[in-house]
Amino acid sequence: MTLIQESPAVLDPGTTSRLLEVDGLSVRFPAGRGTAPVHAVREVSLTVDSGECLAIVGESGSGKSVTARSLVGLAGDTAQVTASTLEFEGQDLGRLSRTAWRRLRGARIGFVLQDALTSLDPLRRVGDEVGEALLVHRSLRGEGLAKAARDELRAVGIPDPEVRARQYPHELSGGLRQRALIASAIVAGPSLVIADEPTTALDVTVQAQVLDLLAAKKAAGTAVLLISHDIAVVARLADRVAVMYAGLIVEEGPTDEILSRPAHPYTADLLAAVPAFGRSGAAVAAGTRPGGLLAPPSTGPGCPYAGRCALADDRCRSELPPPVPQAAGRSARCWHAGEYALEAATPEDSPARPGVAATRPVLEAREISKRFRSPGGSWRAAVDRVSFTVHAGEALGVVGESGSGKTTTADIVLGMLDPDAGEVRLDDTPWSGVSERERRPRRSRIQIVHQDALSSFDPRYSVEQIIGEALGRTSRRGAAAVRDQIVALLRQVGLDHGDLQRRGASLSGGQRQRVAIARAIAPGPEVLVCDEPVSALDVSVQAQILDLFTRLQRDLGVALLFISHDLGVIHQICDRVLVMKDGAVVESGPVEQLFSTPQHDYTRALISALPGVTPGG
C-alpha cells in the first residue's frame, strides 16, 4: 500500500524488505483506582521496511508512545494489547513468550528514550550500560565486553571512549549522553530502532548531531521508527510520516507530501501552529478557526477531530472515516481529505504585531557581567558584558541554548541577582545595586512569566489567591475582596470565574501559563520578562499562548523581554533579537535582518535547525 517515493536514503530496491507489519493494533488501559478506562491506541496500522524511517507525529496524549512501547512488549502490566497482525521479521509478536520477547528486545529491536540522564541507569558506568545488551544476548564477558562497548561508543562519535566508558551518565554532556543511550540500544545490531522523542531535551545544535547519527544508522540499513512531537526533527529524518490524534493514525504518507500538502484538517492545523521562518505572526492563527485546535478530542462514534474541524458535517460526527487512500501513496482518515486548504485561515482575527515606534527606553542593561564558582573551584562567566535596551511597548527577543546565560540575565534584570559589574536601569533609575527595601515598591514595574508555571504557584494556593497576591492581597479573604478585578484579569487571558478556586496542579499546561500571565500583568508592569514561557507546551497550545502575548503587548502597551531557545518563536513575537552564546551577545539586530543575513555561524546553525529551512543560507 505504501510505496517509498523520493525518499533520500532508499537502498537498492532488491535489498529492502518488510521488517515490521502492524495491522489493527489497539491498546486499552482498564479503569484503575481513580482513573477512567483509556483506549490509548485504536486500529493502528503501519509498516516499516528495512533501511527506512517512519515517523509517528502527535501531541501529548495522542498514543504515539504507547504504540511504540507495545511494539517491544512494554506497554505496561495493565495494558491490553490486541492486533490482527503484529509481525516483526516474519515473527508473530502476538504469540511471543516472555523469554522470546527478551531475546527480541535489544537484539533485534533497539529502543531509545528521551533524556539519557534518567534513561540510563545513573548508578552504573556508561560502558557497563552500553555493553549490557551484549552481555545478555551474546554472552560476552570481561575484556571482550568492555572492548565491544568502547568500540560502540567510538562508532556513535564519542571521543575518548576509554575515558567515557568509565564515567557515569551525569558526567557526560547532554549530547554525549544521548549518543551513549543510542549506543546502548544499537550495540547488538538490531534491524529496527524505535526512538521515542530522542532529541527532545537537547539544544538544537546538539539535536542536529544526534539526528545525523540516526541518519547514519539508517543509511547503513537499520530501520528507524521515530516518535516525535517536533515537525523539524521529523522533516530531517523521516521518509514517511504517520500523524496520530486521539489514538488514531489520521494521516500517513511520504514526509515531503504530508508536510507540504496535508490532507487531514488536523495535520494542516498542526503544521500551521508551528512557528517557523516564512510564516510570521499573522498566519499562525490556530485560535481563529471555529473551535480552535485545543478542545479535547470528541468522544462518540464519529471522527475525534469533528468537534474542532472547519469542515465537519453530520457524517463526520456519526461515522469514523476509514483510512482513505490518496495520491502518491498516502492515506487519510477523513471524509473530506484534501478539501482543506491552509489558506482558508482568515488572518484578520489574529493579532497584528504592534509596530516598533521609537519610544522611551524602560529597561536598560549596561555591560552587565556575572560569574559563578563551578564545582571544581574555578570561576565561570555566566553573563559577560551584556548590554541592551528595551523600549516601551516593544518586544526584544533573547535567543540561546542552555548555558548561554539567558536565565542569569533574566534574574539580574529582575533584581533577583546583582551583577558583578555593570548596571541595570529601570525607568531611567538605578535598579541593580540598590537595597531590597528600595527595590520592593518598584517591583510591580517589571514582572516575569516562567517556563515552569506550576512550580511558580504555591501548591496550596487557588488561582484566586495566586492572582490576589499579585494585587497586594496576601490573605484568602483579601483576595476575595478584589474578586471582580481578578475575574477581569482571568478574562483577559482567556480564563473565567469558574477557574477561581482551582489549584495549579489541576490545570492543564496552557491554563497554568495563562494564570502565570494574569499574575504577571496584575500589578500593571511596563516590562514583562518571559523566560521560555512556551517551551514545555504542545505546539498547538504554544501557538495560542504566543497569540496571547502579542495581544497583551498591543492592548496593554507592555514591553516584552522574550527569552527562548527557539528562533521560530522569537521570530513570531519579537521585533529585535539578541543571540547569546556562552554568556555573551554574539549578534543582535532586527529579526528580519537576522534571518535574511545572519552574520555569526552560531546564528546560522540556529536558523538551519528550523523546520522548512534548508541549511546554508
Binding site: P296, F457, L507, S508
Partner: protein, 292 residues
C-alpha cells in the same frame, strides 16, 4: 480591552473532577478507616476511662490470675486487679506521654528548624551542629540521661521523649523550609514585592506545617513505645496510675504462673502504634498527592 475568544484545551481538572472524588473514596482503604476508628476509641478511653471500665486499682487477692471471663474480660493480674480496667485506665498515661512528647518535639523542633533555615549561615551552622550532637544519642539513651538528671516520673519521661525527638523534627523542618524558601513560588512572591515576613507567614509556614503534622503522626507510635520502655525499666509513672509499660514490667515475675498477663498491654501498644502508622502513611500519601 478586548476579550479573547479562546477555547479551552483539554482541561484535566474540570473534566475529571467528578471521577476523582469517587476515585479518592475508593482509594481510602478499609484499613485506614479501621485504624482511625481505633484511635478515636482510644481518645475516648483516655478522656473518659470510667465509661468503659470500673476502678483499676481494686485488689482482690482471692481472684488473682483469673483467665478471661464475663466479669473480668481480660482476666485479672497477680493482685486480682481487673486487667481490662487497668488497660483502659492506662490509655490516658500512655497516650499522654506519646502525644505530649511528640507535640513538645514538634513545636520545639519546628522553631529550631525554622531558625536554622531562615536565620542565616551562622545560625544554621550552630543549630545544626547542636542537632548533630543530640542525634548522636540514641533516643532511649538521651531519655535515660534526662531521667537520670530530673528523676523518674511521668512529666520527666514526657520531657525526655520530647527532647530526644526534637532534633529529628528540627532537621526535617529545616530542609523543608529551605526547599520552600528556594522555590520558584517564593521567588515569584519576591518578584511581586511581597515582604519577607509575609512570605514566611503566607508561604513557608503553610507549606511546612502539614509535613510537621505527618511526621508527628508517624512519631507518636515511637514515642509511646519509648515511654513504655522507660516505664518497663522502672523509670516511668507511679503505681497508682497504671500505664501499659509498667503493666508489662509488673507481669515479668509472673510469666511462669500466667503467660496470658503480658499479652493484653502488649497488644494494646502494638495495635495503637500500628493504627498510628497506618493513619500516618495515609496522611503522607495524601500530602504527596496534593503537593504536585
Amino acid at each position: 480591552m478586548s476579550t479573547l475568544d479562546i477555547t479551552h484545551e483539554p482541561d484535566p481538572g474540570r473534566a475529571a473532577s467528578g471521577l476523582l472524588v469517587t476515585g479518592n473514596l475508593r482509594a481510602r482503604r478499609p484499613s485506614v478507616v479501621a485504624a482511625a476508628l481505633l484511635l478515636a476509641l482510644l481518645a475516648v478511653a483516655a478522656v473518659w476511662p470510667s465509661a468503659f471500665a470500673s476502678h483499676p486499682n481494686q485488689p482482690d487477692l482471692g481472684a488473682a490470675f483469673r483467665g478471661p471471663s464475663p466479669t473480668h474480660l481480660l482476666g485479672t493480674d497477680q493482685l486480682g486487679r481487673d486487667t481490662f480496667a487497668r488497660l483502659v485506665h492506662g490509655t490516658r498515661t500512655s497516650l499522654l506521654i506519646g502525644l505530649g512528647g511528640t507535640a513538645l518535639a514538634a513545636a520545639g523542633g519546628a522553631l529550631w528548624g525554622l531558625v536554622a533555615a531562615l536565620g542565616g549561615r551562622i545560625a544554621d551552622e550552630v543549630t545544626m551542629r547542636i542537632a548533630d550532637i543530640l542525634m548522636a544519642f540514641p533516643s532511649l539513651l538521651l531519655a535515660l540521661v534526662v531521667v537520670s538528671v530530673l528523676g523518674p516520673g511521668q512529666e520527666n519521661v514526657l520531657l525526655a521523649i520530647g527532647l530526644s525527638l526534637m532534633p529529628i523534627f528540627a532537621r526535617i523542618v529545616r530542609i523543608q523550609a529551605k526547599v520552600v524558601a528556594s522555590s520558584l513560588y517564593v521567588s515569584s512572591a519576591r518578584g511581586l514585592g511581597v515582604s519577607p515576613l509575609r512570605i514566611v507567614v503566607g508561604h513557608v509556614l503553610p507549606n511546612v506545617g502539614p509535613s510537621v503534622l505527618v511526621i508527628a503522626t508517624m512519631n507518636v507510635g515511637g514515642a509511646i513505645i519509648a515511654g513504655a520502655s522507660l516505664s518497663f525499666l522502672g523509670l516511668g509513672g507511679s503505681a497508682s496510675s497504671p500505664d501499659w509499660g509498667s503493666m508489662l514490667a509488673e507481669t515479668r515475675g509472673y510469666l511462669q504462673a500466667d503467660w496470658w498477663l503480658p499479652v493484653a498491654p502488649g497488644l494494646a501498644i502494638t495495635l495503637t502504634v500500628v493504627a498510628l502508622s497506618v493513619v500516618g502513611r495515609a496522611m503522607q500519601q495524601r500530602a504527596k498527592g496534593s503537593g504536585r
